[in-house]
């Protein structure tokens, strides 16, 4: 049987496969490159770049929660100068398709970042991290207001090189994510990344205090997946022509397939990389196998398929027989 064709598109951007890293979870790229060839990725998404270097928040910045991670990092990073001098050229040298994520505290700062990236080669797309505190609005996230989210997207679209796709990355904890998505697309976003982390809290029962110095933090990992899928599904239903990158708790090929079925054209892996540095090539292989087993020829054929009425779904979608999940405890050779 022929294997599935994995090419996908995000608007004008063509990718050899739909698997990306999630912003903030792939380091500078060098760390992951020790484990697999980054050219196997559909694209590498950078940690959100800020205008100035940032040390981020004090430790502890992370708490482990059921099927998830709670983090409050405070956007640590080298700032745009350091990024353009050291990190981006390295990715370009390796030939890695790179989506640069940008984060600012004001509309002006987002514009400045896009302007600074304008002349820089080696950028496949820009992802706008809209889940940043908006200084001009008492630190409330841009992602919480359609107007504020649209303003940063517009600023980036205006200053970014024409032809470079702009993706808006939204936060899930809003009353209606579709309204925010519409506002971003109207403001010039070529695609949407759904979703950033959802705000959560963990309390250390030893110290009797919040576990994180930042008190609350962002929930990521498999615990987030149903929320992320719901967001992708809702936004795809409202904006079927807008490409979506699905993010949130992807840990296996079938998880990735769920996102494609909900309407995503690509899928990013975040927290799973902390657990499993070679997750992306594995998930890619699993996705390929899952598509092949369902006799689906191309990734593009499954995007949004879950929205079709039941009768319209091809009948052979359930692969037989079910593949048993190997228990890691019992390797090939059973003790005799």
């Amino acid at each position: 049987m022929n294997t599935a064709l994995m090419e996908t598109r995000l608007g004008g951007l063509e990718l050899p496969n739909p698997l990306l890293t999630a912003s903030g979870c792939g380091g500078t790229g060098r760390e992951l490159a020790q484990f697999f060839d980054l050219n196997r990725l559909g694209a590498f998404v950078t940690t959100s770049v800020t205008a100035r270097p940032r040390a981020g928040r004090p430790t502890p910045r992370m708490a482990e929660t059921p099927s998830g991670l709670l983090t409050a990092m405070g956007l640590p990073g080298p700032g745009i100068e350091g990024f353009v001098e050291r990190d981006l050229p390295w990715l370009a040298e390796q030939g890695v398709r790179t989506i640069v994520s940008v984060a600012g505290n004001s509309v002006e700062e987002f514009g400045e970042l896009a302007r600074r990236l304008r002349g820089v080669p080696g950028i496949a797309a820009i992802e706008v991290n809209v889940a940043c505190p908006n200084v001009e609005d008492r630190g409330r996230m841009f992602a919480w207001h359609p107007g504020a989210a649209a303003a940063v997207v517009r600023a980036v679209r205006t200053h970014a090189r024409p032809g470079v796709p702009v993706l808006a990355k939204l936060a899930p904890d809003v009353t209606d994510i579709v309204t925010i998505a519409l506002a971003c697309v109207d403001a010039g976003a070529d695609g949407l990344t759904l979703i950033n982390t959802i705000e959560g809290l963990a309390i250390d029962t030893g110290t009797l205090r919040p576990a994180l110095t930042g008190v609350s933090g962002g929930l990521s990992g498999p615990a987030l997946r149903p929320v992320a899928l719901r967001c992708v599904y809702q936004v795809h239903a409202a904006l079927p022509g807008t490409p979506i990158v699905g993010v949130g708790g992807v840990a296996s090929g079938l998880d990735a397939l769920e996102f494609l079925l909900a309407g995503a054209s690509a899928v990013a892996v975040g927290t799973t990389l902390f657990h499993d540095p070679t997750a992306v090539p594995r998930i890619l292989r699993e996705l390929e196998e899952a598509l092949t087993a369902r006799r689906i020829a191309r990734v593009a054929d499954v995007v949004g398929l879950a929205h079709k009425p039941a009768g319209h779904v091809p009948p052979q979608v359930r692969p037989e027989p079910p593949v048993p999940v190997p228990d890691p405890g019992e390797a090939k050779e059973k003790p005799s």
């Binding site: 903030g24 979870c25 792939g26 380091g27 760390e31 992951l32 020790q34 484990f35 100035r52 270097p53 940032r54 040390a55 981020g56 928040r57 004090p58 430790t59 502890p60 910045r61 992370m62 482990e64 059921p66 099927s67 998830g68 991670l69 983090t71 990092m73 405070g74 956007l75 640590p76 990073g77 080298p78 700032g79 505290n105 940043c132 505190p133 200084v135 008492r138 630190g139 110095t213 990992g221 498999p222 927290t271 799973t272 990389l273 902390f274 657990h275 499993d276 540095p277 070679t278 999940v325 190997p326 228990d327 890691p328 405890g329 390797a331 003790p335």
Partner: protein, 295 residues
């Protein structure tokens, strides 16, 4: 490249109780052959479909060529993840990444070395002792802990060390003292040229301070800080940051896992661990409140 870390499915050879700790021996040839003293490994706990996403980082006690290459770790089973590890049986498989981090830098000349360990951290010093011996160095140990059961490797240290001093807070083994109490005396008696340390953060701070008073370089492994703060062990999550000042005098937040775990003791801002010092590169500025930033 053989110095890059690998991810591998390692087979459990043995899990045994050693004093108050557990020693876990894994067959992992690719990691054993790359390992250099001071490096660590990151283990996934809970099995393939676990809800526990954070890797657990451990220093390596010993690597051996037997059974094709084994790696042995020592840990206390206080948390659910380590309790799960302690419950493994031989032939179980574990997902292991390593070797990770920067190793101890080794002296070029056959000098006198003082190796200071606290709790299970003492385990990471034995591979170093081995290497130093082979280079003709003298190896002196100071090992400490709250009680005798929590001092790892005191008998081994007496056997292989040129000297070994053991301290416990309750006096149940060796001298009733802290490591810090005996360090000046041991430094003088052994004529130490360098001090290596591995253990709790307070101990590393003392080691650095006393070494500094005697004008000695100190290299310390912040493995226990990493174990408490880290999530990935490979340098991508940025949760394990600590403040360090560089040659240029600028304080930067560095990763305990990828920039360490072995650091020059005199460069670490021990008093500022768990904070972002105001003068660190990229620290929230004083105006942060007015800026309303994510600070």
């Amino acid at each position: 490249m053989s110095d890059t870390p690998v991810q591998t499915s390692a087979t459990v050879l043995t899990v045994r109780q050693v004093q108050d700790y557990h020693a876990l021996t894994l067959v992992a040839p690719a990691i054993a052959e790359r390992f250099r003293p001071g490096q660590f490994v990151a283990l996934a706990v809970g099995g393939e479909h676990t809800a526990r996403l954070v890797r657990r980082c451990f220093g390596v006690y010993e690597v051996k060529p037997d059974y094709g290459g084994t790696v042995e770790l020592v840990f206390a089973d206080r948390e659910p993840g380590t309790a799960w590890l302690a419950g493994r049986r031989s032939r179980d498989r574990l997902d292991l990444v390593g070797p990770l981090g920067r190793p101890f830098r080794l002296p070029r000349d056959p000098v006198s070395c003082l190796l200071v360990g606290g709790g299970p951290g003492g385990a990471a010093l034995f591979a170093l002792a081995d290497t130093l011996h082979r280079r003709g160095c003298q190896v002196h140990f100071v090992l400490g802990g709250p009680s005798g059961g929590q001092v790892f490797g005191s008998r081994m240290a007496r056997r292989i060390g040129d000297s070994a001093t053991v301290t416990t807070e309750d006096g149940s083994l060796g001298e009733k003292a802290t490591v810090r109490d005996v360090l000046p005396r041991v430094i003088q008696e052994t004529g130490a040229d360098v001090v290596y340390g591995c253990g709790p953060t307070d101990l590393l701070r003392s080691v650095t301070q006393v070494a500094g008073e005697y004008g000695l370089p100190s290299q310390v492994s912040v493995e226990s800080f990493l174990r408490e703060t880290g999530a990935c062990g490979i340098g991508v999550c940025m949760t394990c940051m600590l403040p360090m000042h560089g040659e240029d005098g600028v304080t930067r937040m560095v990763r305990a896992c990828a920039d360490g775990p072995v650091l020059r003791g005199d460069r670490v801002r021990w008093g500022d661990l768990g904070t972002i010092p105001f003068d660190a590169l990229g620290a929230p500025r004083v105006l942060a409140v007015a800026e309303g930033g994510d600070a």
